[in-house]
Amino acid sequence: MAKIIIDNEAFECRDGISVLQAALDVGKQVPHYCYHPGLSVVASCRLCLMEMKMPHPKTREMGWAPKLMPSCQTPVRDGMEVRFNTEKVEDNQKNCMEFFLLNHPLDCPVCDQAGECHLQDYSFEHGRSESRMVDQKTKNPKKDIGPDTLLYSDRCVLCTRCVRFTEEITGTSELGLVNRGSRAEIDVFPGVPLDNPLQGNVVDLCPVGCLLDKNFLFKRRVWELEGADSICPGCATGCAIRVDHADEKVYRLKPRFNPGVNDWWMCDEGRFGYEYVHDAKRVTTPVVRRGKDPHTPVWHEVAEICRFRLTEHVREHGAASVVAVLSPFMSCEEAWLLARFVREVAPESALVMGPVPIEGEPQRFPTGVGEADAKFTILSEKCPNRRGIEMILEAAGGEVLSFETFVERAGAGDFSGAWIAGGYPKPWVEKNVGKLAAKFSLLVVQDLFENELTTAAAVVLPARAWVEREGCFVNAGGKVQPFNRAIRSAGGGWHDGQYLHAVAGFDGLYNVGRVRELMAATMPAFENVQSAPLKPAHAH
């Protein structure tokens, strides 16, 4: 730990970081554009300049150096003294803001970044209220640089974060600088669009409204959005994300800092992979079929119906005839509640790990690096909670089957009562699985979309998308990560946790914290589950 003095105040800070990062860590508001903790330092925006005490070149006496120093480029040293609260530093910030806005179109009313724009913020804090430039602005062009991204170079501040991202994190180097002076702009090479699997991060990195996400373009003003801390369910990496939503609709996903898991980034597959949430074809209401007439029960009857039907089945066919398939899209809490219920009603029942979707090979970045050097990995396991379900199954004990064994034994008629949890965003019921429906005299299915199982099931329960639920997932690295609910369930009504809580026989409102406490009694991994990060590591 280095001890440094910032603005006359002593702080302890981590070794090896820059003065800027140290100042940000202790809550100082130091404006900066080009600096980003996940990227190399270029010290080109010149906003974070500070004054520093240095030995006089002749007398060696310590005093404030006449030159300003870039705080992003200066590493902390024990005993150093710096200051940001002086006229010199503030004058530079003010001048910089005037320079940044000289050729900026000031089109905030039609800019997606407005409201979360660091040109707006810094101008408000450090800039002047009117421009002194009366000349025609230099207007750099708006460009379509890839399938998902636009580049409005007239709004660019040339911080080059995006360029460095494609060089250092993805290793694809699609972006570069062309031209000089105030004509300098970010561009792609002709015919080579920005289309790497992590390209969406450049939009997040852009501190201004230059890089824009086509999927979010003109959809919503950002101040109308609310954010919910969540975990991406796209693969087993388990990136920490924020779900930005308004009016029960998800507008965009943004990565949250999560050291060692996704750092500051997320992949496009995860970022844009939420479309199914608002698919009109989703199952939104529970359906009960007895005889031929399906009907929709009111929500508070659902638990009782499920309990009654399964108890009845066990009485008629025995507990060993019951099987429950837990989905790797369920939260740990939901899986635990379902397992608990099934084992309570049918103690000799079999529990099954649902199919784990695998697509291709893991993609590591920068491209071409091995596992050890990867800065970001998109895993081929396309579900968020295989590890979590395995933990639940292990703790539940008794008969635990793989999905293949289940299909085989169910096909042979070993089970007549089944509870199958789905919740896969993509169609998952293969022909051989669909055929099993006929083998069960009682079939309860939880799923997102209609399929051969739901059409045959005695009870269909709508599975909810992860943004409509809460709980925790365990990622491939074994990290237990909680996610919060962002929006209400499609079509209204209860979400999986709520109805499973009631099915499992608990009274009152569903409270994930309370469920997790109960789980922690046998599974200590669920004690004190914290959302990452505990402290934001970076202002923007």
Binding site: S44, R46, L49, K67, C96, N103, V134, R180, G181, S182
Partner: protein
């Protein structure tokens, strides 16, 4: 006063001066043979003793620069800065055109002193003819065994010529390094300095053509001879360029004790103004150092005196004379345009500041200036540059000095031209605030 005997330009005008044969016949490569028998440390000490200050513009002592190289380095690279891009400057060009072997010999001596195995000569792209002259000389030197494997004392050196792509900023040493690496010419943040981590992340020395051309003579005649030429802190022969409406524009050599007036008027230099022209202003060190008025021509062309006249330094010692028929607002626009297009665009203040100054200067030149524009120019000039710590390289300092000195020293003329500009040109002002 005895006539000055040219050192660096001694072969200019000699028939076939670019050929190895003629160069050798005039004592060429003898210094190399002498130097290769010395140790690198002895060489560095000799150059330090000569107080050879860098001729590229900053005047940093060459020997001291070499001694920044880490002692335990495994490889060293040498870059020769021949990206002579400063307006009115053409001393390096003359050296390469007339005496390429002098540069090659200097490069070999510097390479041996720094134990560099490879030297890159970085030429600005416009040097087509000079490139071919130099390449031919390098080929000759290889054939004669002055370059290549074991050229003496177990030392080997390869020289590669590298041509730029037309950027002023590549004359800045780290911009030059980036450009040789095949990257966009943008100066690097320092530290690390090139001596520690330069070209291809290896310890690197960057020296100017003229600096290196001095080396054979220092080795041949000794440091004491060198320090005997010119004033104390600015010793050794120096090339001066003079251009503009003088009778004999060109590149001349002399000790650094002459004045700007002498440079213009003396018969062995500019030879006086062409008839009917009067000096109005002089940019004595390349335009980036700033301007002198006709009253300030007593300035000495050495490393120290320019500061006394509000200039940035000696620069390239290339004087361009502006005569009375030229309006300063036109000069202002011309210079502002140069820096506006040559800023690399990395640092905010320089990228936007030079562009803004260009716009303002254009407006003043077009007859739509406002009096407050002059203050904005001065303020903008104060708000950029490496000296106050606001930028990565020195380009914005060079951009602000000419603008600032023109506005300060010729303010009344500019004010007058703004006041007397014809009505109706306010169409150039987009939004009039006052």
């Amino acid at each position: 006063m005895a006539a000055y005997e040219p050192v660096l330009l001694r072969n200019r005008g000699v028939e076939g001066s670019t050929s190895l044969k003629v160069y050798e016949s005039r004592g060429g490569y003898q210094s190399f043979k002498k130097a290769i028998k010395m140790t690198p440390d002895e060489l560095i000490e000799e150059v330090k003793a000569a107080n050879l200050r860098g001729r590229g513009g900053a005047g940093f002592p060459c020997g001291v620069k070499w001694s920044f190289l880490p002692k335990d380095r495994k490889r060293t690279l040498l870059c020769v800065n021949a990206d002579e891009s400063e307006p009115p400057t053409f001393c390096n060009r003359v050296l390469m055109e007339h005496d390429p072997h002098q540069l090659i010999e200097g490069t070999i001596i510097a390479g041996y002193a720094t134990q560099a195995q490879i030297a890159y000569i970085y030429l600005r792209v416009e040097f087509h003819e000079q490139f071919h002259i130099l390449q031919k000389a390098v080929d000759e030197a290889y054939a004669a065994g002055y370059l290549g494997k074991d050229i003496g004392n177990g030392y080997k050196l390869d020289i590669y010529l590298h041509r730029g792509a037309g950027a002023y900023v590549c004359g800045e040493e780290t911009g030059l390094i980036e450009s040789i690496e095949g990257k966009r010419g943008e100066p690097r943040i320092k530290p690390p300095f090139p001596a520690i981590e330069g070209l291809f992340r290896m310890p690197t020395v960057v020296n100017n053509v003229e600096t290196l051309s001095n080396l054979p003579h220092i080795i041949e005649r000794g440091a004491a001879w060198f320090t005997g030429i010119g004033p104390g802190h600015s010793s050794g022969p120096k090339l001066f360029c003079v251009s503009g409406p003088v009778k004999k524009p060109g590149c001349y050599e002399g000790p650094m004790d002459i004045t700007v007036r002498e440079l213009i008027d003396r018969d062995d230099f500019g030879g006086g103004m062409v008839s009917g022209k009067k000096v109005k202003a002089v940019f004595p060190g390349g335009v980036s150092m700033g301007v002198l008025t006709a009253d300030e021509l007593g300035m000495k062309m050495d490393f120290d005196d320019p500061r006394n006249y509000g200039l940035l330094g000696l620069g390239t010692a290339a004087a361009v004379v502006v005569d009375e028929s030229v309006e300063m607002r036109m000069v202002l626009r011309n210079l502002a345009r140069f820096y506006g297009t040559e800023s690399c665009g990395q640092c905010t203040q320089c990228r936007e500041g030079t562009g803004w100054m260009h716009k303002i200067a254009t407006r003043i030149a077009e007859g739509a200036g406002r009096l407050e524009d002059l203050d904005i120019l001065l303020e903008t000039a104060r708000n950029m540059g490496m000296m106050p710590g606001l930028s990565i390289c020195g380009l914005p300092d060079g951009a602000t000095y000419p603008i600032e000195t023109i506005v300060k020293k010729f303010r009344s003329e500019l004010e007058e031209s703004i006041a007397s500009q014809p009505q109706g040109r306010s169409d150039l002002v987009l939004s009039v605030l006052n």
